[in-house]
Symmetry: C2
Subunit: 379 residues, 2 copies
């Protein structure tokens, strides 16, 4: 099976792969003849094979959640995963999966389609959160892990963890869902839809048929700025930037004048070039499509399938993309479904992105989840 | 003086004009050799010339706030202005000004520069809220109104009314400020900056040198969608659209699938073509630049110049662009400056746009402002 990757998708030094033996049927139609799922691990799987923590990511990260000997670069959840850290790799075998449809080693729109010799692009079948969860399950199977100790996810990863726990109910012991929801809100769809339209309006997108090294960078940059506006909070920016002007004003009309503009521009430019535009579009749409109620007559009916011993739902007061109401709703539905649920509302100021930034609020909460008395046997 | 207007800027049937006799100096530099200010009026000016209500608009409306015999088309504040309505034109002489820099009759970037025979475009001098207020003051002068009974504005119009009351302190009796602020917030700058960048990234913008009938429609459409996202509220959209899919799905990749996407698209397409892109850019930036503290050592010092008998500040709980904190701050600063201030927080669900939509909440509040006992003499 030949799976090659086009630029800019890239695999990182510690990436491992599962190559599926069978064609992979996508939930909304279409079959991928060959699928590779990239993942990274930390710690050691114990003899009972019951100390695994399966970690799903948000839309844009790779499987590189934390540094390791094989890849000392800091990961996207560096403060959370590692020896002695809240998800303690001295005790747990942590597996982070690169989402199906992404561009960091897993099969996605940027992957070369063996049938044509070109990237799938917009001919990739429609992607759903369920497909991402199923690909993650294939990693568990390949590692012969029947029942992970915990499944953890934030944002899109939280949606993925939810559907994983519904679809593989007997296999999940603990569930940790951060800044996620049972379905996409109209506001979140509006934001993501506009991001996609901005990308598709960039002439360089070329109907999705751009060359891998000719990404629609302008569209990606503007979409990323809109993303950041939705990921952070007005309160945080008011505190950090207020009405402060930059020292050196640009020359072009309507150029950067305020610090907030400079901040957005710096961060957007840092992001683009590292992510394939079509992968972004597919992953973005998969979040819009998500509705847990598709797994039962209602969200509650779907959640009632979960058999996890305990679920922890964490939300952030300043999150506008996945507002706390959605975590409250999730917890209420789980309680109605007779699950043991703990709901936590954190007063972090960094909005939806708080789980990536606010170590002080998130680390103790997640540490507690992973240090309950009954888990000591895992030590 | 020859002032002609390029397409799509247009004057409406009831528009009147003031042509300034003198060149107009802009606050941040530059002089306009000839300036025309468009306005519309309703009701009759009384003999004492003290029953005028001066109305400033938000970013995009024309001076056509309400219908009249001369122009029976509904205005942008139809429920608020008219005979027997909250701003009662049987009692008051209402004057609504088209902002300097706009494209509905007042001089702006879309106006033909007599010196070149072409629209000013990006050669128009930098525009500020102060310039818009000054142009409004010229209308009062031309109508020989020394002291309007009230100055009223919402959103950008609220900023304009504030600076008018500071700059012409002795001339303002009553001040009504709706969903506005003493300065631009970092979040609002982020949104507007991204809107401008989206427009300027449309190849049709052509560095600002597009032909009047070759507007950057794609950029304007996308910017308008972002505008709508900031003008309304997540709560409203969740109630109206939730996760509902449209009946007929489009063919193109990542096309419209959910009702919220269809709604945004319909409204954005309705808007574009009716507004000149450069005018939009200038007015947008003028809001970023606004900081009342420039009129004193602080916002409070600036506000202490106001001599209005009473100020009414109205805000909306669901407004994310001018959140209620900003109206609270404005009212607190005014009280510190020993002004008679009334602050009202309305539980409208339509976000920043509520003043245009929520008749039931806004009409009684504004009616009360204009029907105080002491004003009966104006009847």
């Amino acid at each position: 099976m030949a799976v090659s990757l086009a630029a800019p998708p890239r695999t990182l030094p510690a990436t491992r792969f599962v190559d599926l033996a069978q064609p992979f049927s996508m939930r909304r139609g279409g079959v991928l003849s060959s699928v590779r799922v990239a993942y990274e691990t930390w710690g050691r799987l114990n003899a009972a094979r019951d100390n695994a923590v399966l970690l799903f990511t948000g839309l844009s990260p790779s499987a590189h959640a934390a540094s390791s000997r094989a890849d000392p670069a800091p990961g996207w959840w560096e403060y959370m995963v590692g020896p002695g850290k809240p998800i303690d790799t001295d005790r747990f075998f942590v597996v982070c999966v690169n989402s199906l449809g992404s561009c960091f080693g897993s099969t996605g729109p940027a992957t070369i389609d063996a049938a044509t010799g070109k990237p799938y692009g917009v001919d990739f079948p429609e992607l759903t959160i369920e497909d991402i969860a199923a690909a993650g399950h294939e990693v568990m199977r390949a590692l012969a892990i029947e029942r992970p100790h915990a499944v953890v996810g934030a944002s899109m990863g939280g949606m993925t963890a939810l559907v994983y726990a519904v679809s593989h109910a007997r296999e999940v012991e603990k569930l940790v869902i951060i800044s996620a929801a049972a379905r996409a809100s109209a506001f979140a769809i509006a934001i993501r839809s506009l991001q996609r339209e901005i990308i598709c309006s960039d002439p360089a997108w070329a109907g999705g048929h751009y060359a891998p090294d000719q990404q629609p960078l302008m569209g990606m940059r503007l979409a990323r700025k809109l993303g950041m506006i939705s990921y952070r909070s007005a309160q945080e920016w008011q505190q950090r930037f207020g009405h402060h002007e930059v020292i050196t004003r640009g020359e072009q009309p309507f150029g950067i004048l305020y610090e907030i503009e400079s901040y957005l521009d710096y961060n957007a430019r840092k992001f683009v070039g590292g992510f394939d535009a079509n992968c972004y579009l597919y992953l973005s749409r998969s979040m819009d499509l998500f509705d847990l109620a598709a797994h039962g007559s209602s969200v509650k009916a779907a959640l009632s399938k979960i058999q996890a011993r305990r679920a922890t739902i964490i939300g952030v007061a300043s999150d506008v993309l996945f507002p706390f109401d959605q975590q409250q709703e999730l917890a209420d539905s789980m309680r109605d479904a007779a699950l043991d649920v703990r709901l936590l509302r954190l007063n972090a100021v960094n909005g939806h992105d708080s789980f990536l930034i606010d170590h002080d609020r998130f680390a103790p909460v997640v540490r507690e989840v992973f240090s309950e008395l009954r888990d000591r046997r895992l030590g």
